[in-house]
């Protein structure tokens, strides 16, 4: 994850409390999703950014996961994500995200 984005995630977690934060991802496929999810939960796996070694354990979802889709206004979801649902491999994304959440999320 971009270093500046990591810095912002860290600062906002401190400002609002990690338990009040939800991170939403828009990555194009499973592996990139799980990498970003790992970064905001267990720390930056590439050892490059401010989240290296920081286990924030933030609640994190991909916006196209069913848990999130369920809560979003259907018309808005269709307009913003409808087409990409046809393009992206949502099952792959879900399969990559679930184990990261199960292992590292502290506030679920």
């Amino acid at each position: 994850m971009d270093l500046e984005n990591q810095k912002r995630v860290l600062a906002l977690s401190e400002e609002y409390g990690a338990e009040n934060i939800v991170v939403l991802l828009g990555a194009s496929e499973g592996e990139a999703s799980s990498l970003a999810a790992e970064t905001v939960t267990a720390g930056d796996p590439t050892f490059a950014g401010p989240l290296t070694g920081v286990q924030l354990g933030l609640t994190v979802f991909h916006v196209c996961e069913p848990e999130i889709k369920e809560e979003v206004d259907p018309a808005v979801y269709d307009e913003q994500c409808g087409m990409m649902e046809m393009v992206m491999d949502i099952d792959d994304i879900c399969n990559e995200m679930a184990p990261i959440r199960a292992e590292y999320c502290k506030y679920l």
Binding site: V22, V23, L25, S28, A32, E67, D73
Partner: protein, 43 residues
């Protein structure tokens, strides 16, 4: 319990997936407050 309603949301969108501003619209419609939104680019 809802995941998004009443929460502070940080958005890490993707230029080739769902971009930040598109996720913002979704999050707001679910009653979340967006505190940061960004879009990454791998290419």
């Amino acid at each position: 319990m809802a995941i998004l309603a009443g929460k502070k949301v940080i958005i890490i969108g993707d230029r080739d997936g769902i971009p930040g501003p598109a996720i913002e619209e979704c999050a707001k419609s679910a009653g979340a407050e967006v505190v940061f939104s960004s879009t990454e680019c791998f290419v």
